[in-house]
Symmetry: C2
Subunit: 482 residues, 2 copies
């Protein structure tokens, strides 16, 4: 059995590292800042991919694959983009045994290569909107790596679109931001988010509007979970991308992009985890249910056969695993608790004889004794055992969202004065709603508390800027962040 986890309240950062190790989610790669996703970690990512991919396709985005390698000159086409990404890229100078005429960069994001291809494919208004998505890994050289949160190589999806008008681009982007991301994060990950636009300083390099969903972690820091960008026409001009509108005039299309990465896994760990380890939301848990048979030599066959019969009834609908290892019951419980499996089903000889099993919920350790008696029902009727677990998993999702909402609310306060909340969030964490004059200097003043404007708030309740006390033009959300 592995060692106890560090204290989640006082050693949050150590707890985070150690829970990732013990749950065998990832391992360090030999290249600094890169990670290996191990089977259990990758199975979580596969479920995230599957659920997000369905939502992305439902919004009319088609999957493609664009090249890993981008000519260095492409990055330089758009001024603010190159300033944002050039310091972070990995550069290929040699290939096939000789030095390259033009250096190539490994994609840090794919705007430049995709916009180059768009300019080959878009000719007429009939070609619009053009909406593509790709699942891949990207490289951004990372000085302060942290598992899932900041890694040199990370995995993500990136959606890119070209529309005929800014209005259409904006409508599609907003729909994606809510229907794809907010829905996925709040429903599938059971994480409540604070949603709004980024300040100009925090926008994506090359965009003129960036929308974000910010999650609140258990240590009172914010984490950016998914962002959506209005790229507008700057890249279209840089890549000479034009279309003939229905009146015959040449126009530049309006571009947008949005993406979400493997850091979603980090968020999920930091929002839901507890002293015993991970707590995984059912939608993305590799196993919904793990059956732990409690056996002696004399009853092993009988108990395992019973476990198999329960698995057979459930596995059409749920991801079910039987722990057939020779570990002690305590070791099995620990193993699956640290891995955050939503439901543990205990079965021992007495359960077999009584036609029951014991359902233990990871979220709150609550136990329910469940009858396994099969009712002589017609084949169309659903098995009551299946119905029980479908309801149970849905109730677990609700409990998780409620618990995370209460945690979020406990960190969220209003304050009018940075002198009051600045030192507080620097030392203890916290997420502050306050007023802002919109000025650069006041935004920069937050740095002394290691805080930033996470997003602007649609809510308008503060009258003066928390720094300079001039009239506020917008409420904003301030916190330290990952």
């Amino acid at each position: 059995m592995a060692d106890k986890l560090p204290d989640i309240k006082t050693q949050f950062s150590e707890w985070y590292q150690e829970v990732i190790n013990q749950a065998e989610l990832i391992d360090q790669a030999p290249v600094r800042g890169c990670m290996v996703m191990r089977p259990y970690g990758y199975a979580i990512w596969e479920n995230i991919q599957k659920n997000l991919d369905a939502r992305i396709k439902a919004q009319g985005y088609q999957n493609c694959a664009f090249p890993l390698l981008i000519p260095e000159s492409f990055l330089q086409q758009e001024k603010s983009h190159v300033e944002g990404f050039a310091p972070e890229v990995a550069v290929v100078t040699h290939a096939g045994g000789s030095e390259l005429e033009e250096k190539l960069v490994i994609r840090p994001t794919s705007e430049t290569i995709i916009h180059h291809m768009f300019s080959r494919w878009i000719h007429s208004w009939r070609d619009l909107p053009m909406k593509v998505n790709q699942w891949c890994s990207v490289i951004r050289w990372e000085m302060r790596p942290r598992p899932f949160l900041r890694t040199t190589e990370f995995w993500w999806h990136e959606c890119h679109a070209a529309h005929a008008t800014r209005q259409e681009a904006h409508a599609d982007l907003t729909a994606a931001h809510y229907n794809i991301y907010k829905n996925f994060i709040e429903h599938d990950l059971a994480i409540p988010v604070i949603t709004g636009a980024k300040s100009v300083n925090e926008q994506f390099a090359g965009a003129d509007l960036t929308l974000t969903h910010e999650g609140v972690m258990q240590d009172g820091k914010a984490l950016q979970m998914a962002t959506s960008h209005m790229i507008s026409q700057s890249f279209a001009k840089a890549f000479a991308m034009q279309f003939q509108d229905d009146a015959g005039t040449m126009q530049y299309p309006w571009l947008s992009s949005f993406g979400a990465t493997t850091r979603l896994i980090g968020a999920m760990i930091m929002v839901h985890g507890d002293q015993k380890g991970l707590v995984l939301p059912p939608s993305i848990a590799p196993y919904h249910i793990v059956i732990t048979p409690i056996v002696k030599t004399t009853n092993k066959d009988k108990v395992l056969a019973y476990a198999e019969s329960i698995k057979a009834r459930l596995e059409k609908t749920f991801r079910v695993h039987i722990d057939t290892t020779s570990s002690t019951p305590g070791a099995k419980f620990y193993h699956w608790e640290v891995r955050g499996v939503p439901i543990r089903l205990e079965v021992g000889e007495r359960d077999v004889d009584g036609n029951v099993c014991v359902c233990v919920e990871r979220i709150d350790s609550s136990k329910t004794v469940v009858s396994t008696i099969e009712q002589s029902s017609s084949p169309e009727q659903e098995d009551p055992l299946q119905l029980f677990f479908a309801e149970k998993l849905e109730s677990i999702r609700h409990k998780m969202f409620s618990k995370a909402s209460a945690m979020q609310a406990s960190w969220l306060t209003r304050s009018a004065d940075v002198a009051e909340f600045g030192p507080r969030i620097e030392q203890h964490g916290g997420v502050i709603q306050t007023g802002w004059c919109g000025g650069n200097e006041c935004e920069k003043a937050l740095k002394q508390y290691k805080a930033t404007i996470r997003c602007l708030s649609e809510d308008k309740s503060c009258t003066s800027c928390c720094v300079c006390k001039k009239p506020s033009i917008t409420d904003c959300i301030i916190a330290k962040s990952y």
Copy 2:
């Protein structure tokens, strides 16, 4: 409407390029030899992934993600591996704004990095077998690029395993070769294959046994479709990977790997395509059925509503698309024919009135008039329209496999003398079964005809080597190849 395709009989290579263009499968990337997979091409790859992935998991392999970047020194750990791959790799020398202390290569394949990780994870016989898979792209610098067949970046899956004994490793590898690959290629791609071991010269760099499935293309050339390698213990020794067996002795595990790439799409094009374009096997076609409504202004709503009602009945089971563009019927037919959709469903006003639709099969243009009358059946009974198309698609798969088998047989001959078959296959193509003494010089002699030993044959019917006339130790299969 696009231009007619080049003649498939006399201009096979030009036909191949042009059918890929017209079907919009891929486009050229700005970096020479790299490709962009467009939505229709990528949808084919997604179906290949989905079907292969299920087979890979069924054999106990777990998906992971390993890093893109590998320290250059790793490649040099295993002598034959570095000799095989060093000339093809792309090298990262700078990252994060400065020169790297150690150069990194972009993975050309992942044996070295995965074996490094295995050596961290494998300690005891209890950790074995360890079986992992990854879906990713790799880079091998390509001097003579060709869409899907030879591209600098290509997409693939790679499975890697460590077993306690050679016997177990070999049994798992053989099972994978047949249950995963042969089954997938012959069933899902409807391509018959010739199966056997590679000659030592053609083995994977670092392996001591390579199994291959070779497909025969319509121009009489062979194409290697998937390979499986016994890596044995060489890499385990290079990466100091040892485990304690159940008697307490330290042992090196036995390693194996197997992979299949986006060239499967190239094979499918060259085996099944015809003068009208692609012909896609149902299992991997992006759409099983495309409904082409034939409308006039006066009946548009009526015909489209009918098309929608058919789609609604079929789309739970099949991938169905309605072509609602304003193109002429002829242009629609051409559009979907070149894209190889297995079934086109024509519906016009007379079909609505007669409660029928016309099913046209891409494989042989055969037409069937199908009743769409709904029978008042209980909900459990399957819709007869669904049953009709399920049977039709299965029969299309059989027709495709039979046609491909006949094509393969037409190229396959036996010959005892390279002087007879060498000039013949050099000029016209062809696949020859013949005898081989096992000698290097005789294998090299095939080069003058641009041919190679594609695999050794389990069949033993030839008594003398086709080059030196000494006794044959094994039959072999000889052809030009892609």
